[in-house]
């Protein structure tokens, strides 16, 4: 008889915490530990990492015995489009300027929604660009390039 995971939510949370804990301890090995009296930069993160692994095991372990809640499946499109829009903005704003980066952000992020009307998205883009340039460039004076040149 195999082990059944009663609460996938908790089980995977536990795994995530264990992963971060192991990562913290592994990386902290490069930093001097010092002693309790003179703690080195590796001391505190190692303690935290250890505690995180411990808690991770308790959470994942409990998930084998209690709970009955599954993970709700998510839609991939909103996730990809929202994060994609942000990443596109991130790498376009420096070389191409705010106006074009905003275009990418608005179009890609709107593709993540349920409805997409070209006319509406166009208007939204114009409005947001005007607002962003007016408020952030002229208003606050952020040193961000507006146009590609």
């Amino acid at each position: 008889m195999g082990i059944k995971i009663r609460s996938p939510k908790d089980f995977y949370s536990g795994l995530v915490f264990i992963l971060f804990g192991v990562l913290a301890i592994a990386l902290s090995r490069d930093y001097p530990m010092g002693s309790a009296m003179r703690m080195g930069p590796g001391y505190f993160p190692s303690i935290l990492g250890g505690l995180l692994i411990l808690l991770g095991f308790v959470i994942a372990g409990r998930a084998l015995f209690v709970g009955a809640e599954g993970i709700k499946g998510g839609a991939v499109r909103p996730l990809l489009m929202v994060l994609g829009a942000v990443v596109a903005f991130a790498f376009m704003v420096q070389p191409l300027g705010l106006v074009l980066a905003t275009l990418a952000l608005v179009v890609i992020s709107c593709l993540g929604g349920l409805e997409f009307h070209v006319y509406e998205v166009g208007l939204l883009y114009l409005l947001l660009t005007a607002l962003a340039v007016g408020l952030f460039i002229y208003g606050v004076g952020l040193p961000i390039k507006v146009w590609p040149v």
Binding site: P32, A36, P41, V93, G113, L128, F136
Partner: protein, 499 residues
């Protein structure tokens, strides 16, 4: 008493300057706006607008950011009452009776009592801050590193206890936050930790990046997954509550204010828990509890007063001890640090203008909010009809510009997207992100105090148990954990959150 009056005069002198009035008005208007709009909370907004305040004087910046927080408490009730969707988390319980009142054609009185109750609560909470903050700061000035470390443990653990969801997961999120807070160059050894050789990480991860990613981006993604239409009840005829309404609700307002002020001060407290607790209390005290959920005005008056009182009094531990009691306060603390202010009890004595100016501005802001919310209610109702698909690209754009302006680096914007992904995963796994943010802000400070306490004690860890104040706090921590493990309390806690 004389001293208090002098302090308040000093404070109003600062808060009533034209420029600060303007920042206050801007803050409370934005707060009302995002409170009204479901899908964006005060935390994401403060993180989003924070980069705009870098070149603004510290007092004005904090006045504005604080205004967003308590302004959202006013705005949130409008959406709960008219749409049956909480405009923000602390107005969840207002939906229960507020929306029912609106369906019975009594939206006006519900809105009015929510605003007036909030105003009363805001005024009382302002006085409570002025009264209780100075003695608390005085005590805190005597704290050594051991006391501070234990205080932070207490603050973090009680935040985990009061967060809803699993206690173990909340504590794990705190630990993860503490670890993320250590990324960057260590102040003591100059060793670069967890930076993977990336220069953008040498100064650590900005808390703006974490707050935007975990809260704003993750919220947008989960909102987009949800389908369904909202029905807005725009029919608000008369705002005036009847004499019977006032008679039925004034006691609830007073009780809600008291409860909120108390729960706001406790570490881990704040607006959300206050509103839940107040609703439960009102239902318990009512002569006929069956009216609740069917449009009982006390069910609006109590929680709405409580959430505003709780929002404001949660400034007390943040301003006097430098300990954030909830995630919004953690962001406020971060905002102070960006302005070069070291949080702690010395803020009050070293920067009285900032401290008392901020407190006085809260009273001014509450007055503005009553005006903004009652006569102008029509404008906010119209805003409710703006569909979310036009809103979220704006949220994303403002976040991106804000993240980019931190240090004009594309890396930080991309990192924000990374935290957005992490936040989405945590949302799917039911892990609350708020404790992580608290841990993140306190991480470096906690390490510093631990290090100093251990150096002073020559490496003897019993120092935390032999110093009385520190011991008392750790006993409180143990008590809290025992309490939550005890099944009776566990059931009760569930009840409060599920009602």
């Amino acid at each position: 008493m004389m001293e208090l009056i002098n302090h308040l005069i000093l404070g109003f002198g600062v808060a009533l300057t034209p420029i600060n009035l303007l920042y206050c008005l801007f803050g409370v208007s934005i707060g009302t706006l995002i409170g009204v709009l479901p899908g964006i909370g005060p935390l994401a907004t403060i993180a989003m607008l924070l980069p705009l305040t870098f070149n603004v004087p510290a007092v004005s910046a904090l006045i504005m950011l604080a205004g967003i927080y308590y302004g959202a408490m006013y705005g949130g009730s409008t959406t709960s009452i008219l749409v049956n969707i909480p405009g923000e988390a602390a107005s969840v319980v207002t939906c229960l009776d507020g929306y029912q009142m609106a369906r019975q054609g009594r939206a006006g009185p519900a809105l009015a009592i929510a605003a007036l109750g909030s105003f009363f609560a805001g005024c009382v909470a302002t006085v409570i801050i002025a009264l209780f903050a100075p003695p608390l700061a005085e005590v805190a000035l005597k704290f050594g590193p051991a006391e501070y470390f234990s205080l932070m443990v207490l603050g973090l653990v009680s935040a985990a206890v009061l967060a809803h969801g699993s206690l173990l997961k909340a504590i794990a999120m705190i630990l993860l936050g503490l670890l993320l807070g250590l990324v960057g160059t260590d102040v003591n050894s100059r060793v670069r930790r967890f930076t993977f050789g990336i220069p953008d990480l040498f100064d650590g991860i900005s808390f703006v990046v974490i707050a935007m990613g975990l809260f704003a981006f993750a919220e947008v993604i989960t909102n987009l997954e949800r389908k369904g239409k909202r029905v807005v009840l725009t029919d608000v005829q008369t705002l005036l509550p009847t004499r019977a309404d006032l008679k039925a609700s004034w006691k609830a307002v007073v009780r809600g204010t008291g409860l909120g002020s108390l729960l706001g001060i406790l570490p881990g407290g704040g607006a959300i828990i206050s509103s839940f607790a107040s609703y439960t209390l009102e239902k318990r005290l009512a002569a006929d509890p069956s009216r609740f959920g069917k449009g009982a005005i006390e069910g609006v008056a109590g929680p709405e007063s409580a959430n505003n009182a709780g929002a404001q009094s949660s400034f007390i531990p943040m301003l006097t001890l430098g300990i954030p009691s909830n995630a919004v306060m953690a962001v406020m603390l971060g905002a102070m640090m960006i302005q070069g202010i070291i949080p702690g009890p010395q803020v009050m004595t070293e920067r009285p203008h900032l401290f008392w100016g901020l407190i006085a501005s809260m009273w001014v802001g509450n007055l503005m909010l009553v005006v903004i919310n009652l006569p102008l209610i029509g404008i906010w109702i119209r805003l409710l009809t703006v569909p979310y698909r036009l809103l979220y690209p704006a949220i994303l754009l403002f976040c991106c510009i804000g993240a980019y302006s931190l240090s004009n680096s594309s890396f930080e914007v991309a990192l924000t997207a990374g935290f957005g992904l992490l936040g989405y995963i945590f949302a799917k796994l039911d892990c609350e992100p708020a404790p992580l943010l608290l841990g993140f802000i306190l991480g470096p400070m906690m390490e510093e105090y631990l290090l100093r306490a251990m150096r002073l004690s020559r490496g003897d860890p019993t120092v935390f148990f032999t110093r009385p104040i520190s011991l008392a706090m750790l006993v409180a921590v143990a008590f809290l954990i025992l309490m939550i493990i005890a099944p009776a309390v566990r059931r009760k806690r569930k009840e409060v959150f599920h009602e």
